[in-house]
Symmetry: C2
Subunit: 410 residues, 2 copies
């Protein structure tokens, strides 16, 4: 049994940093060979996860009696591990809890950072389940040139943006590792660490001998929010609750490791629902980079900045001249405004209309970009208003008081 487990989770899993690989996807690097696109089908094969197909989307709609989120019905969340088991249990009347997180490495979030939180909010609303959100300020201190205090400050600032996504106050617990790690959480960390050899960690995460031992020590910290017993103030008496983790697929290595260890220490394997990456304005081959503010739309951007960025930097699949465009139409496959609209324009009918008209050359790039600017401006403005209402008091409430209310899981 154990051998089978390891095979499923690990041998099929990606080796981090292998030179011969066509694409590298791990928590610290996402890149395709020769600057090409990430091949998500290959990633599913290599990681050994499952494709999230249409029948599963329909099952979610049936069970929750509401339309699937845009990110689900348009394949932004495209892969999973054991999501079926979560739905089976849910159908039998068993609840589960959600776990997601963020490494607080920058003060301002961009749209890509919001994706898992927007989707997690939908899952929480649809299934009415508790949620824990881990801010890995310890990870960012370990990997970046940050002080402990700066990492903690970024965690607090990011928490406000996360809270602004509108989670159910009575069911959400947000914590930073530097402030929360201890007690049952620490005991679970040590319990996980005892089951992973250094060689296995190297296989999963690509550590080298020159990496500091802080990096080697970290994976169990991200693993243990998958276990209800790490939150005795939330889940006391419900240690058997299942966990569903919405995240980008670059986090998969952490949870391959977690799923390998879980049954050996008496816990359910956490289920996963995994997203593709949100593209840079410059195109899917480009990278959103904190050092290039023009590569992404930030939630702090003004309406004017959004307009300028979209018009100036959003890679277009339209043709060079209006004449040629009218004749050939846009290449929707590489068009960033279309890609961004497919994330954030909720109206399926309108999106299909735009794609059809634009693809046929009847709609021009400028018109599509203008619609995108409207959609993003509204989104960012709404976020800004929500964030402004997150006072330090509300923030403390989320950090601390949520933990009490969320106790009532069923």
């Amino acid at each position: 049994m154990a051998a089978v487990e390891i095979k499923e989770e690990r041998e099929v899993g990606a080796k981090a940093g292998g030179e011969e690989e066509e694409q590298i996807v791990n928590p610290w690097e996402v890149s395709a060979k020769d600057g090409g696109k990430i091949d998500y089908d290959k990633l599913i094969d290599r990681f050994g996860c499952q494709r999230l197909d249409q029948s599963l989307v329909e099952r979610v709609e049936r069970l929750t009696s509401r339309p699937a989120h845009v990110f689900l019905r348009r394949g932004v969340f495209f892969a999973h591990r054991d999501f079926n088991d979560i739905l089976d249990a849910y159908e039998r009347g068993d609840k589960f809890y959600l776990y997601t997180g963020r490494g607080p490495s920058s003060e301002a979030l961009h749209l890509g950072h919001l994706i898992p939180f927007m989707f997690t909010k939908y899952l929480q609303d649809a299934f009415k389940v508790p949620l824990v959100i881990q801010l890995t300020d310890d990870e960012k201190f370990l990997w970046k040139n940050l002080t402990i205090e700066e990492s903690r400050r970024l965690a607090r600032e990011n928490a406000k943006d996360i809270i602004a996504c509108g989670f159910d106050v009575s069911k959400t617990f947000i914590f930073s590792d530097f402030d929360y790690v201890g007690g049952a959480f620490y005991r679970n960390m040590v319990n996980v660490a005892k089951r992973v050899t250094y060689n296995q960690a190297v296989g999963i995460f690509g550590f080298t001998g020159e990496d500091h031992i802080g990096k080697v020590s970290f994976p169990p910290v991200q693993a243990v929010p998958s276990f209800p017993s790490s939150f005795p103030h939330l889940f006391s008496g419900k240690e058997n609750l299942r966990c569903l983790i919405p995240c980008a697929i670059d986090q998969d290595p952490y949870f391959r490791m977690t799923r390998d260890v879980a049954p050996r220490i008496g816990y359910h394997k956490p289920a996963l629902i995994e997203s593709s990456f949100f593209p840079a304005l410059q195109g899917e081959n480009g990278k959103m980079s904190a050092s290039d503010p023009n590569s992404a739309i930030y939630v702090t951007d003004s309406a004017k900045e959004i307009k300028t960025k979209v018009n100036r930097y959003a890679f277009s699949g339209g043709q060079d001249s209006v004449e040629k465009h009218r004749q050939l139409g846009a290449n929707l496959e590489v068009d960033i405004p279309i890609k961004y609209l497919s994330f954030f324009l909720d109206d399926d009918v309108e999106l299909e209309h735009i794609k059809k008209e634009y693809g046929a050359g009847r709609m021009l790039t400028g018109e599509v970009k203008q619609r995108l600017v409207e959609v993003l401006t509204e989104l960012v403005e709404r976020h800004r208003r929500a964030r402004a209402s997150v006072t330090d008091e509300v923030c403390i409430l989320h950090y601390a008081l949520f933990s009490i209310d969320v106790h009532v899981v069923n």
Copy 2:
């Protein structure tokens, strides 16, 4: 400066587990080649620590206005690192704090386990300083075949034996890692872990790729009680307090690492005062082993058991026959009763008398053993009475309430 630091603490330091070495001394193994004695002079050279000489002992007596502890004046504690600096600071009127600990791997302690605690009690009384005692139940869980709950239980049981040594209730904080790690303590752990590469950890501790990452993660846990900021409830506002660690010399690798890191993260290097190993009843070449109860005197042994063990198993330097003994005298160098008396018989005059008479053959092994049985029986009986008075309530008081009183350091 940094380069010099590393040279002092690390290059001179022992490589753990090197095959070519004549003796292996690290936290998990103490053995001399071909079953010989540990060569402590070589150990001092190899570790790069300093010999604790007579002038230092006399300085302690002057500063504390009391005779030095038996363990100090008879060289049980024989090596140190920067103990002079601690005394310099003390002489200027600066306090320090003591840090010692135990890995709770067994329920019953033997006399060897008591040595650091008996000595630490003396230091606390003589210098009137606060003390933190770490029970590394996480370490024992990681290295032994124990459950987390069993490790925690052993920590609580061992705490009672430690409390029975009679520390100053108002100045002592005892904690188990599984219960205390978190907050500022965890932040210090991560801060240390960031400054030690995996290769360096392998050099210091001899880890292999097949060791689990729990082992690799552990050294910072034992390092950070050296920093006052790990105990904000004790030392708030006194983050600059120096730390003195009494311990057996096999723990030196942890603190070589700690001393290398400390100045790089803004802390004083902890000072050390280090003991030799307490010999097995079978002789200095033997090992006290939990699997052989006859290799050691346990604090739970009855008077009858002590008598039997000493008479039957304590290796004697006396001669085979009374005639030969009267003629040649005992070999005190290998005689365990004499060795044990030199640890536990406080009276210098009587000890010298016994050594002289026994060495000259005028005193017989049986007589020396009888005196040892008296001394040990009294010691163990006293310990047993003290431990019996340590109720769970007192234990909780030590774990929790001490932490409040100890706040008044000066």
